[in-house]
Symmetry: D2
Subunit: 334 residues, 4 copies
C-alpha cells in the first residue's frame, strides 16, 4: 500500500522534503509537484517522475494525488489548505498554518465542521527523539509536575531580509509549539525582552531576545532566541520539575582530546539537528493517512501557536506583558 502525494512548492524546503521522501520514507510516492516557478518545478518533478503544475490548486485537484504536502510560502497556506479540505484530502502544511490569526481561524473553522482531522502542521520537533524522551519522562512522573522550562534556540546566522518580528514568527514559534505540546497547556501571556544587541546582527535586527511565556497552570518558560550566534545551531532545553530536571543531551558524535581541550560537535544547522525528526514526521504522517486518523500537530496547534506569536510580536514593540486570548476549542480538537 503506497500513498500518492503531491508537493506544493519546490524551493529549498520542498526539495528537502522530496529528497527525504525518496531516500528514507516508506510507503509513499511523489506523483505531482507544483511551483509558480515552473522551470524549477519541472526540474524537481522530472527527477522523481512526477507530474508538474504551475498552480497548486490544479495539483490538489489531480485525482492521482491522495494527499498534499504544502511547502510553498506562508501567505499561500490558507487558500491551499482550504482547497485540500474542500477536496477532502489530507494535508501536511509547513508552519505557519497561516500568517495571521484570522486566516488560521478560517482554516480551523473549515476543518472543525468535518468529522475528522485532515490538516497537520509541520512542527517537526515533536518527532525528535530527544524531545520525545523528555515528554515521556515528564508524563511518567519522573520529576513530578513541571514548574519551569528553559529553552535555548540559537542559529548561527540568518538570510538577508530577516526581521525582528521573524525572530518570533519564524523561530520562536517552534518553542511555542514545543511548550504547549510538552506541557499539555495553553500559553496565557508573554513578555519579550530585547537584550543588548550583538555586533554580529545585520542592521536593524534586535538580536538576541528573551521571550517569557506563562502557561495556564503557571509554568514559566524562558526562551533565548539568538539568530546570529555564530557558533552553531544549538537547541537546548531544561525542564524543571518538583523533584528534578530533564534536559536534552548533547548530540551524539565523536569526542576529541586535542590542543589542551576535550571537545564535541554542535550541529551546523536545523537540517543536521532535526534530520531524524523530519523523517519521522513524514513517515508517521504517511502511515497515519494510510491507516488511520492523522494525529500530528493540528490546525488548533497552528492557530494557538500563531496567537501566542502575535502576542509576542506585540510585546516586542510595547515592551510589556501581553495576554493571549484564544477562541473556544472546537470538539474536533478535544
Amino acid at each position: 500500500m503506497t500513498l500518492r502525494i503531491g508537493v506544493v512548492g519546490t524551493g529549498m524546503m520542498g526539495q528537502d522534503h522530496i529528497r527525504r521522501l525518496a531516500a528514507s520514507v516508506l510507503r509513499v510516492e511523489v506523483v505531482a509537484v507544483s511551483d509558480v516557478n515552473v522551470e524549477q518545478a519541472k526540474r524537481v518533478g522530472d527527477g522523481v517522475g512526477a507530474r508538474v503544475y504551475a498552480d497548486g490548486h490544479e495539483l490538489v485537484a489531480d485525482d492521482r494525488v491522495q494527499a498534499v504536502l504544502i511547502a510553498s510560502p506562508g501567505f499561500t497556506h490558507e487558500e491551499l489548505t482550504l482547497a485540500c479540505l474542500a477536496a477532502d484530502k489530507p494535508v501536511l502544511c509547513e508552519k505557519p498554518l497561516a500568517p495571521t490569526i484570522d486566516a488560521c481561524l478560517r482554516v480551523l473553522e473549515a476543518e472543525a465542521a468535518k468529522a475528522q482531522r485532515l490538516v497537520q502542521v509541520g512542527f517537526m520537533r515533536r518527532y525528535d527523539a530527544g524531545f520525545r524522551a523528555m515528554k515521556a519522562g515528564l508524563d511518567a512522573g519522573q520529576v513530578g509536575q513541571a514548574l519551569l522550562l528553559h529553552c535555548r534556540h540559537r542559529n548561527p546566522d540568518v538570510p538577508p531580509g530577516f526581521t525582528t518580528d521573524m525572530m518570533i514568527t519564524d523561530s520562536v514559534v517552534h518553542d511555542i509549539d514545543v511548550t504547549r505540546w510538552l506541557l499539555g497547556q495553553e500559553i496565557v501571556a508573554t513578555t519579550v525582552y530585547k537584550a543588548r544587541r550583538t555586533s554580529k546582527a545585520p542592521e536593524g535586527l534586535a538580536d538576541p531576545q528573551m521571550v517569557v511565556l506563562e502557561t495556564a497552570e503557571g509554568v514559566v518558560v524562558d526562551v533565548e532566541s539568538f539568530v546570529t550566534c555564530q557558533f552553531g545551531y544549538d537547541i537546548r532545553y531544561e525542564l524543571v520539575g518538583e523533584t528534578g530536571t530533564l534536559s536534552l543531551s548533547e548530540q551524539a558524535g565523536v569526542l576529541v582530546r586535542q590542543d589542551g581541550q576535550y571537545h564535541g560537535p554542535i550541529p551546523a544547522d536545523y537540517r543536521e539537528r532535526f534530520a531524524g525528526a523530519y523523517q519521522h514526521e513524514l513517515q508517521e504522517w504517511v502511515d497515519g493517512v494510510l491507516a488511520g486518523p492523522v494525529i500530528g500537530p493540528s490546525a488548533w496547534d497552528g492557530y494557538a501557536t500563531q496567537a501566542v506569536a502575535e502576542a509576542a510580536v506585540e510585546s516586542q514593540t510595547k515592551g510589556d506583558r501581553v495576554q493571549v486570548e484564544l477562541v473556544e476549542r472546537p470538539p474536533l480538537y478535544a
Copy 2:
C-alpha cells in the same frame, strides 16, 4: 606576620568561619569571639583560645583585635560595621551589609568619608574558581561582549520560617552580586515571575521563581530561584556572548556507570559547593588587611545589591517590572 581578628557571632556561620580559619587560613589568629548567647560564645572561644564577649561592641573595642569578622544576624550589621569604621578597623561583614537600603547608605557614607576602604561584604562566589574562570574568559574577550546570562540557583530545601521575600534577600542576592561583578555593570530594572508552586514547598512559600534582571548596557539576566528543589545544591551559569557561551562545569568528582546509567555528583549544600571559595575569601581578606588595601566586595556592592533586592521584592508583590535607582557612586568606589 599574623593578623589578630575577632569574630562577632558564633552561630552556624560564625563557627564555620572559625573552623575554616583554624584549618586552612594562613597568617591569622582568632583572638576574640562574641555572641549574645554567651554560653555558645564561651564554648566556641575556648576551643580556639580566644577571649569571649557578650557584646560585639566590646570585641570591636578590644585592642588585641586588629580586624573584625561579622557573622551575627543581619539586623546587627549596620551598627557593628559603623563601630568598626569608627575604630578604623577593617571588617569583613557577612551579607547583607545591612537589611535596608537606608542602613546600607549610612554605612556607605561613613566609609566614603575615609581615605581608604575598610569594609568588605561576604559575597564569596567571587572567590570561586569557576566564577573566576568565567570572568577571566569574558574579560579576555573570549566570546565578545556579554548579551545574556542564565543563572540557576537551587537549594534542596530551606529551614522553617523561610519566606517568599527571603528567596530574594537571602538567596538571589548572590546572583545579583555575581551579575554586577561578572558584567561590570549596574542593574537598572527587575521583574519577578512566580512560577507554578511546587508541592514540596512549605505552606506560604511561592517557590520557584524566575527573576529577570536588566543591566545598564542591556544584558538580560534570568535567575531561577528554587529553594526546595529536593535534589541538591545546584548552581549553574551560562553567559552568552557575541561569538560563544561560557558555562560553569559540573563539579569534579567520580563518575559512576551502574544500573543503566552513567552519573556524577551534585553538591549537597553551599558549604560543599563553595568550600574553596570561602577559604580563598578569608585568605585574600587576611592578606589584603595585612599587606595592602582591601579589594573584595565593597560597601558599594553591599548597597547596590540591596537596592536591586528590594526592587525585586517589590516586583514579587506588584508582579511588574520595577526600576532600580542608585545614589551617585562616591569616589572611594570608583
Copy 3:
C-alpha cells in the same frame, strides 16, 4: 525497483531483521523465509506474505529470491553461503562467516574465483554513526597516525550455556572486525588476560577478560570483554593518535538531575545500541545489490576475523601471546 530477498533462519535474529526490513528499509521485499522449525517459519513468513521453506537450500534455489540473508546458526553458514555463490546470488551472512578458519577459507576460495563479490558478512558496527565518524576523523588525519586503541565491550549478562571461548567468538569478534576496519591493518598477534572472575558470572565462565591485539604496523589494542557487567550494554572506544584522541560519545538521550546526581542513559542491549547500524547495514546492502557491487564487510573480513578469534581462544588456554598467520589475500579483496 525492489529487491526480493529470502531470509534463512527465523529465530530471534532472523525475526529482528524481518521486522526491520518491513519497518524501515526501502526497496526490499521479503518473499521467502526458511527454518528447520517449520512452525516458526510459517508464523513469521505468513506475517509478511512470504513463501515458507523448511530447507534453506530450497529457499536459495527459489527463482523469486534475488538475494539471501542468512540468520541461521553459525554451523550452517558455510554450506548456505556456498549454495548462494553456486547460484550467483548475493548473500548477507550474519557473523561468523563460518565457525572455523578452514570453513571460512572454503567460502573465500569459492568466491575468489568469481569476477565480483557476492558475500557480505554481518559486522554491523561499521554502519554505526559513531564508529563511522571516528574512522572519518582518523582518515582525515585529525589526530595523525593511530598508535593505540582502547575498547570496552560490556554486556549486562549472557544466556545460559555461554562459554569462555564464546567471549571471543561471539563478542570480541566485533572488536576484531572494528580494529581491522578502523585502522586498515591486519592483526598479527593476540594475548588474552583472564582477570579476577566476577561473582556475577555463571559457573565456569572466566569473565571478564582483557584481549590485547597487535596490528601489522604496531598499533596496540586492548579490549575489555565483560559479558556479565550487570549495568548495561556499554560500548566505548578511544583511539589514540599522535596529536590527540578520538572517542565514541555517550549515546544521546535525556539527562536527569535528581537525588544528588546528574545522570544519563546507557543502552540496555545491542538492539537498542545498534538499531541505526542494523538499519543502515540492510539499506546499504539492498542498494548495493540493486545498483552496484556489494562493498560491505567481505568474506576476507570474515576469514581474517575468524583467524584472529581462533588465535585468541588459543591464548585463553595457553595464557601466552599467539601469532596470527593469514593466507595470501586474493586479488578480489585487494
Copy 4:
C-alpha cells in the same frame, strides 16, 4: 605549634615545594635549605629566611631542623634518607625512594628496625580528591570487587634526555603506586607492549607504551604511558567492578560553546593537575609529624613500586611477561 623543616634540593621540585609551603601550608616553617648549587640554594633560602647549606648531611644534622623534605636527584635519596633515620628525623622523600631495589631494601631495613615509621615517599596522587573519591567508592563496596583498572597517563612532552626506561621509572611509577594503594594488593607480574612509535617522540624514545600489571588477586591493569601526546597532561582512570565502574571526572573548569563545538579544558602539566594533591600531601605530612605517626606512602611502598618498575623495564627489553618477587613485608608495615 610549628614544624621547622629543612629542604634538600632547590631545583624546580624543591622550589615548588618551598613556594607551596609558604603560600598554603599551615603550621610549618622552612628553616634550612641545601643544594650542591650553593648560589641557587642561597637565592632560594634567602627568599624565605632559611639557613643555607651546600651539603644535605649538614642540613640533616642542624638542630633547628625537625624534619626533612628531600627534593634532590634520585641517586642522593638513599644516603640522605638513611641519615635522617640515623638522626631520628621524619623525612618526606620525593620518589623514587631510591633508584635500585637494593638501595630501597637498605632504607627499608634501616627503618624496619625502628619502633615507628619516619619515612614517607612522595607519591602525591594518593592525596588527590579524585583518586580519594574513587578509593572511597571502591572501599564502600559501591561497585563490588575490583576486576580491571584502565589507566591513561599522558604528558604533552618530555625534557631532553628522557629515555625509554624513564617512561616506567619516572612516569608509570605513579600508576604502579596508585594501583597498589587503590586495590590494596601487590602486583605480581607485568608485561610491556611498545606501540607504534609516534613521529613526535624524540629520537630513540619508544613512545607510547602499554604496560599490563597483574595483581595478587587477579585484577588486570592496563596503563597507557604516552609522554609526547602533545595535547595536555591527561590522567584518566576507570576502575571496573562487579556491578559498575568508577572513573575520574574531567577537571572542573569553564565550558565553552564556540566554532561548532562545545569544549572544556585539559590541564597543561602535573603542577596544574595535582596542585591540590601536593598541598594536601604536605599539610598532612606536617600534621602527621606534629601530632602523630606518619601514615603516608611508606618505605615499603617505595620498595614495592621500585620492584615492579624494574620488572617492567626488564619486560620492555625482553618483550615478555616478567614476574615480580618481593621480600617478606616487615611487621612495621603490616
